[in-house]
Amino acid sequence: MQLFHPTTIDEAVALLAAHDEARCIAGGQSLVAMLNLGLLDPPALVSLRKVEGLDRLTRHADGSVAMGAAVTQAALASTDLPGALAVLSEAAQQVAHPAIRNFGTVGGALCHADPAADLPPAFVAADARLTAIGPDGARSIRAEDFFLDYLTTALAEDEILTEIRLPPPPPGSVGAYHKFARVDGDYATVSVAVALTLEDGICRAARVVLGSCAAQPLRLDAADAALADTQLDSDAVARAGALLQDSAEPLADMRGSADYRRRIIPGLVARAVEAARARSEAPA
């Protein structure tokens, strides 16, 4: 297996294109495990660690945020982000353990597309735009459209995720990430990422996204609509939870049966919504 250390994105893209079935390696926290288990055997690895500028996180004056794909989970976890974007830092804080967050990158976590991972639902809740660069140039993909299936994304084999852009969060927006796991540092049994826009106690817009409940992050227009223009009363929240519950197709594994996961969805959705809402009441 060959290992390359490009310093520019163009160089990295060219290397990926030149080697059939080559892979990017970012923090290696999932890739190396896959190699060890014999699940992957790429002929070449293209490391992103030396690519200039890929680890930069920028907060713009208008509240929008741009982060390079190689920003570490630890860096995101320790960044204060405005409004609903707090869901991102909060999710990053709950990924694995410090040692893994220090290596693992935001881009790696998104591109790995593990349905049980923490960052994908959070980035869908925040309505992130992902920039992919390949031999034919750059394109932007909504986080929503990025996760196609279990460990499968919209990236082509020779494309690299370079940057993630977050639109400015609307005034009054709040976010929260609620993770339920067997033990600290485990993948989620079920997780809920929430972004709400509140105006005088009324929810004007909501994005509720579940992790570990389908092959990709699960968001439903109907569930979000059930919360919109309500005071987030328990009936509305229960309705949203029930809709998500009906659509969920969780895996069964050691973390819980599919039925169990489905059963706890409404209760966890209620907790996540409440955690976000409480934030709008707390003095900033």
Partner: protein, 774 residues
């Protein structure tokens, strides 16, 4: 009473702590030997199959491969503790998924693993026995067709196919006693297979010198057991085998017998080179050992005033594919099944059976956690029915010093009452008990208690103490330090017995070539048993010191006293004294020879009383010196997820005397945490005989962030007359009491009695849902 020597009760840091913190401690896998080869194994994919043929040609052809071994290449020399049923590699048939079938030694690890993957095995699948019920049903397939021909210890008591052992401890007349009971509770309890999950996976390095002597370096719990088993497996006299112990990264019973040492020794023999084998975490999960899962049927009856009258208990332990410790685990479980209560009528019976799953073996608690989970639940069920406080009910029936254990032995020291009252009073039990079921945000709180016992006296051990030329001491024993601090505790006992500073006592990691015999670091016995041998040895040294001093001062040895700090002098004459150094020089260079003391004993407590009790097939006539504890645990049950969170715990343990209170507290905390995992989280699972979760990804253990800092160890000191400075054991009991206290707290919080552990969120939620439907 004379005060205790300074070394006793001192919170001294471990000698190995600095090295471990700095990453400088050397474990077996850190070591290398000149010319060393690396080994890899190939495990069975089937729970039960006949090996029709093994094609090793491709593996042998791989450059760098030095040897490929299969069961057919090895002599038919089986080993075991009670049934000689084990071989280094499967011999003709495989009996569990992961059982080593072939092994490779090669120049490097990658080559060894690649070669192992090239070995082709032709299997004929057989019908596996995958549960206790399947093992015992009529017409069950025997897991060992050859069982009848195996060499084995007499009186195992097995009756049916797949039974390894059948035992009983009974007293009184249970059938007649039910009529005297006002309340009877009855239940079936199921306990899981827990993995030892020591931090250091199994590893061994073996090498032969040119004189044919074998040296094996490995993590182990007894150099002497490993040496004896290697002797049998390799047909070598023990004088030709040296077993050395590098730093050990935990064991918990999982390394108490041989692990891979015989296999590695065979590879070293055929290659003529040192060979190392370290199992991957997955291989270790699949091919080593685990706690016996069990089904426990119990019935307990009491008078309206809470007096316990009768208990009938029947337990079946799943021993897995090889007998290992099963007969002893079974019997010890039964010995604990009356609990620490004076119940006059008891019938306690059990069996251990073979199945086509990983072998089960000793694991912190040794059959006791299984039984005590069930019996301590029943005490609470009785309290509930009788409207009595669970602590009061326990206090009312608690055994006391001078009372009898089941089997007739006298209890020589007993701090059970103090444990119960201390745990009750420091926890604020009464208030928490009143507030059961209360909570906010879908959570309900509860508090539960358990009381329990264990032993610390069994089998044989020895130690020597030598006085070095400068008057410091060299202590030698074979109590392997597993990380729990045995080495430090024994050094403190030696320092205490000689009344010198502990820094003036040297000791070394267990080495069969350098130190005298010890049965094992197990059974919570090291501080008590090896400590007694150290006391004897130190005492012999003191006598020789006194004799030298008496000769020098021309007085009677009886007029000599040993003074703190390593001096001997005439009683009442402070200025007439010699240092140990002066005495030792005299002994080394002038008269008498170097001062050496030795101690040796086999457990010498009272034997069981075979006239008073029905005791069938228990393999020992005496084990004992009972230790006691009580836990109070406060939990919060999340009714949304079913997750049980431990909020606080109070763990009181009667250790006789805390030689090193910091180490005792460490054992209490660690045992409680491992017991909490047993109660709430840990379970090895199989589907159709295939392990489902043999990795740290799928099999979780609690870490520092999962449990509260609010776990309070409470040390109760009720000195044991026979113990070193009154000390007893502490290694296992803290695990034993955790699960029942947690289950009792869950019952208090929810009103639901969960009789199956682990109480996973899913199980708890199911129980809550079922209750809501009723």
């Amino acid at each position: 009473m004379k005060g205790l020597p300074e070394a006793i009760g001192a919170r001294l840091p471990r000698r190995d702590a600095a090295d471990k913190l700095a990453g400088a401690a050397r474990y077996t896998d850190d070591l290398s030997r000149p010319g060393m080869l690396h080994a890899a194994i190939l495990g069975s994919p089937w729970p039960s199959a006949r090996i029709l043929g093994i094609d090793t040609a491709a593996a042998r052809a791989l450059p760098g491969v030095r040897a490929v071994l299969t069961g057919a290449d090895l002599p038919d020399r089986r080993w075991g503790l009670f049934v000689y049923d084990e071989t280094p590699l499967a011999a003709g048939v495989v009996r569990y998924v992961g059982e080593p079938v072939a092994a490779v030694a090669a120049a490097d690890l990658a080559t060894a693993r690649a070669a192992a993957a090239l070995i082709e095995v032709d299997y004929e699948e057989l019908t596996p026995v995958l549960s206790i019920e399947a093992a015992l049903e009529d017409g069950a397939v025997p897991v060992h067709r050859e069982f009848g021909s195996y060499e084995k210890r007499p009186d195992l008591g097995f009756e049916r196919v797949n039974e390894i052992a059948r035992q009983e401890f009974s007293e009184g007349d249970v059938e007649a006693a039910w009529a005297d009971c006002d309340v009877i509770v009855e239940g079936v309890y199921q306990v899981p297979s827990q993995s030892h999950v020591y931090l250091e996976p199994v590893s061994a390095i073996a090498e032969f010198d040119r004189a044919g002597k074998l040296t094996v370096r490995s993590a182990n719990q007894s150099v002497n057991k490993v040496q004896a088993t290697l002797s049998r497996a390799l047909d070598l006299p023990m004088s030709k085998i040296r077993v050395v112990t590098p730093a050990v990264g935990g064991a918990f019973g999982g390394k108490s017998g041989v692990t891979v040492q015989p296999l590695v020794a065979h590879l070293a023999r055929v290659t003529g080179r040192p060979v190392k084998l370290t199992l991957t975490r997955e291989e270790d999960f699949m091919a080593m050992r685990r706690r016996h899962p069990a089904v426990v049927r119990v019935r307990t009856g009491a008078k309206a005033d809470g007096t316990l009258i009768a208990r009938d208990l029947d337990i079946v332990y799943d021993g897995g594919a090889y007998a290992e410790d099963s007969p002893a685990v079974l019997g010890f479980g039964l010995l604990m099944a009356r609990g620490p209560y004076a119940i006059p009528h008891c019938r306690l019976r059990g069996r251990a059976v073979y199945t086509n799953r990983l072998r089960a073996a000793g694991f912190r608690g040794y059959g006791n956690p299984q039984v005590t989970f069930a019996t301590e639940a029943q005490i609470d069920e009785l309290a509930d029915r009788l409207g009595l406080d669970p602590v009061e009910l326990r206090l009312k029936n608690a055994v006391e010093a001078g009372g009898r254990w089941i089997g007739g032995q006298t209890i020589t020291s007993c701090g059970l009452r103090a444990c119960l009252t201390e745990a009750r009073d420091t926890s604020g039990w009464a208030g928490k008990r009143r507030d059961g079921g209360i909570g906010a945000g879908g959570k309900r709180r509860g508090v539960g208690v358990s009381a329990f016992a264990h032993i610390c006296g069994l089998l044989g051990t020895s130690a020597t103490v030598r006085l070095l030329e400068d008057g410091t001491a060299a202590l030698a024993h074979s109590a392997v330090d597993l990380g729990q601090g045995a080495e430090a505790a024994l050094a403190q006992i030696c320092a205490g017995a000689l009344d010198i500073d502990v820094d003036r006592v040297d000791s070394a990691p267990a080495d069969s070539g350098a130190a005298p015999y010890n049965w094992s670091t197990g059974g919570s016995r090291v501080t008590y048993m090896v400590g007694r041998a150290v006391m004897q040895a130190a005492d012999a040294v003191r006598q020789q010191i006194a004799r030298h001093a008496a000769e020098t001062f021309e007085c009677a040895p009886g007029d000599i006293e040993i003074r703190p700090g390593g001096r001997a002098g005439i009683v009442g004459v402070p200025e007439r004294e010699l240092s140990f150094g002066e005495i030792s020089l005299r002994a080394h260079y002038r008269t008498g020879g170097p001062i050496i003391g030795s101690g040796a004993l086999v457990y010498d407590g009272e034997a069981f009383d075979y006239k008073e009790a029905v005791i069938r097939n228990y393999p020992f006539e005496r084990v004992g010196t009972y230790v006691f504890g009580a836990h109070v645990v406060e939990v919060e049950v999340d009714t949304v997820t079913g997750k049980v969170e431990i909020l606080r715990a109070w763990a009181a343990h009667d250790v006789g005397r805390a030689i090193n209170p910091t180490s005792v507290e460490g054992q209490i905390l660690g045992g409680f945490v491992q017991g909490a995992g047993y109660a709430l989280l840990e379970e090895m699972l199989w589907e159709d005989g295939q392990p489902v979760n043999p990795s740290m990804m799928d099999y979780k253990v609690f870490g520092a962030l999962d449990l509260p800092l609010d776990i309070h160890p409470i040390i109760v000191e009720e000195p044991e007359p026979s113990g070193p400075f009154g000390a007893k054991g502490i290694g296992e009991p803290p695990l034993v009491g955790a699960a029942p206290a947690i289950a009792n707290a869950v019952a208090h919080a929810t009103g639901l009695r969960l009789r199956t552990i682990p109480m996973t969120p899913e199980r708890v939620l199911d129980a809550l849902a079922a209750a809501a439907e009723r």
